[in-house]
Symmetry: C2
Subunit: 450 residues, 2 copies
């Protein structure tokens, strides 16, 4: 008798690899251990993320640099001997920043470090206006329409540092919705304290929900937000000037880049892994998400080097335009609607290169086989109910089962979406640990009966 569902499984000690789940073939376990050990020794992922961040660098979705990244990704997967490599075109709007300057005009003139939030509008010249501060998005929401006419709204919610990055999701609505909400209340522009946990003077970009005729919206670096706070705390009215130029064109495109190892017994069934190929324009996209691209491509490549293919197919997807609302992932789920039921499991690596510390899964078969293989990597059994990463969400919504290799993201938001997201922030040792875990787990997922 099989265990039912996830949370139940965690409570039921009898499920923990005794009699009720078929034992994995020892040869399969042995091969998973081999993959783990080869992953730990492999320089491949570091070579891949080095190549992507050096030879392409920033690759904002739909730009010429993104198109070069697509060609790079296609060439890489071919070089790594996938059985099939192909592109799937994705239509998308292309938003770009061209100029971003800000300053305190009064009472204490000085420059501010800001960056435009994705989908921000432009100022059409220099805009100078008094600042009204809110501690939370909810406080802004409580204001009546028209009450902020002629003002710049400033929201200064502080993000907490956590291993799982949960502090980010808790407050990111101020970036996603702040611009629209400020505009509806008559404000001329939005400023937010950067999401992020660093003390560096970099502002943190990221997307906001598209809407018509958006107002200029920027994030302030954390030291600059605290500078503003000190002045406002002193009882002064602060006037800020903004000079922001952005552009948006609806007629852009990119591609999901896909490589497949065809399964030896059930080739139509597949395990999907991947990362996203696009990055923000400020850094070189090393932790977000060059690392995920490198980890999953390297893991699949190690599996490709085995004497035989796993029973099921393994599909590696380099998703397009994740940063702009999972555009490539939604397109993938739409295009592959008819074979959704063949997606046995899916997972994305999109949380930098921090070490993996837990495997989340609702599959007793996978956990029973994988945990002894992963234990030497310092990886524990995680939770049954999980998400598979942002680009897996559209598949999960259609019922695809997901697993997740949970990473230490304590310092992820020190670099994420800032100019500081560069290759030197990737730790080669934990990158290899990731490859070891992904190679073993992906192989087992493609080999076992779930």
């Amino acid at each position: 008798m099989l265990c039912l569902g996830g949370l139940l499984l965690l409570a039921a000690a009898g499920c923990d690899g005794v009699d009720d789940v078929p034992k994995a073939d020892p040869a399969v376990i042995q091969r998973a251990e081999q993959l783990r050990d080869r992953g730990l020794a492999s320089p491949l992922a570091l070579e891949i993320v080095t190549s992507l961040t050096t030879e392409i660098g920033p690759r904002l979705a739909g730009t010429e640099a993104d198109h070069r990244a697509v060609a790079w990704g296609e060439a890489l997967l071919k070089e790594l001997n996938f059985d099939r490599v192909w592109l799937e075109r994705v239509e998308l709007p292309v938003w770009q920043r061209h100029r971003e300057r800000a300053a305190i005009v009064a009472p204490y003139p000085q420059m501010l470090h800001v960056t435009a939030i994705g989908n921000s509008g432009s100022t059409e010249g220099v805009l100078a206006a008094p600042v009204v501060r809110f501690e939370t998005l909810q406080q802004l929401e409580a204001v009546e329409p028209g009450e902020l006419a002629g003002k710049i709204v400033y929201i200064n919610t502080r993000m907490e540092r956590t291993i799982d990055g949960s502090g980010y999701g808790q407050i990111s609505a101020m970036r996603f919705q702040g611009g629209r909400m400020a505009k509806e209340r008559g404000a001329l522009a939005l400023m937010i304290r950067s999401l992020g946990t660093h003390r560096d003077r970099f502002a943190h970009t990221g997307s906001s929900r598209p809407h018509d005729d958006p107002i200029p919206s920027v994030a302030l670096s954390i030291p600059d937000a605290e500078q503003l706070d000190r002045i406002i705390d002193g009882g002064e009215t602060v006037t800020v000037s903004l000079d922001i130029e952005t552009s948006l064109t609806e007629e852009g495109h990119s591609w999901n880049v896909i490589g497949q190892l065809d399964g030896r017994e059930l080739p139509e069934q597949l395990v999907l892994i991947g990362g996203h190929l696009d990055s923000w324009d400020l850094g070189t996209g090393a932790v977000d998400d060059g690392a995920g691209i490198a980890i999953t491509a390297a893991a699949a490549s190690l599996i490709a080097q085995l004497p035989e293919r796993p029973r099921r197919s393994i599909r590696v997807v380099m998703f397009a335009a994740e940063e702009h609302g999972l555009i490539g992932a939604r397109k993938y789920a739409e295009v592959h609607k008819d074979e959704i039921q063949n997606h046995i499991a899916a997972s994305e690596s999109d949380f930098g290169a921090g070490a993996v510390w837990a495997l989340d899964s609702d599959s007793a078969a996978l956990l029973n086989a994988a945990m002894p293989v992963l234990a030497p990597l310092g990886i524990a059994r995680g939770e049954a109910a999980t998400s598979g990463g942002p680009d897996i969400f559209p598949l999960m919504q259609q019922g695809v089962r997901v697993f997740r290799l949970r990473q230490d993201g304590t310092d992820y938001f020190d670099y994420h979406h800032t100019p500081n997201d560069t290759l030197d922030k990737v730790d080669p040792e934990s990158l290899r640990q990731n490859v070891a875990a992904w190679a073993a787990v992906t192989y087992l997922a493609a080999e076992l009966d779930w």
Copy 2:
């Protein structure tokens, strides 16, 4: 019999506070201890550095912001009840940055993070040229005139992290002299790897030796320098574009801001302490040198609150234009030439707010009295031969004795001369420890016979 000179003193155990130096008056020692304890508890230095960095912010010498800083400094010293406060005008050239953009044009197009070096010239539009790399300034020096025609010179010497910041001085010649040397060999521009020990994507500015018609000269952030190195190491010729606009006017001015506590017995004799008021334009000048301004003003203010003035005068100088070649300090030494012999001792705080760990001095009287007072602060006896800080150099050249409170500068070059030099990088606790040490030592220096 008095001990002779500095280094001799260190070797001579008999000098260590036994019979040959007059014992300090126990009441004097007690007052020094009081000052130390009040310094440890005083919020004043934090208030001063907060005020300067928030209400003025960046204050490049000779600019309008610098003039506002001078007015701020004068008002502060008056508020702190100095007996006399005055300004001394300093003429100086004003160099400013207006635009700085750089990119790799080929083989892998992407933006580079650079900042212009002080006294850099402009590109007059966009300059694009191939890069020739040198590991050291000496390698560049070995090249024949004309051999670098049409090239951009790139020097990538790496700075080492040390407690005393000595890694900086060892390689700063590539910034001071690199531009002139590259120009003499026909190069169109200079790029250097940033001085500094951080891994952040900030380029590090600083001055270069003025010369006629300078070529554009920039520092690359360390991640960007390493990006360039990877491409060059791969055997590629890199073409870089630079778009740098700077300006230089010879007719600028600023002021040394001076406050004095008049001595009760020997008012014409004085102990000079201080910092420099100007800062680079990129940060808000918190560690360089808001901290030093705050530490020395706060220390003198504590002494001013004693029931009576020390025997000698204490003069606090906020030097002008240190960053551009000790211009205010040289002017001070020139203007005060006739009273140089009255400067009993001098010292500057210009190394951030890191904790003090040693007192350097060649005065047995000062060391004997001060060391027991400083020991609870974790401060040890340092060296006899020392420097008193950059702005003290012109006085030292004229024979003024100096002492030095040596600070832990392990992280100083993580922030120094970058946008990251902001208030949050000042540790309030070690700032207070500095004030405690400066108050005690300055008082003893003004009270004792040397």
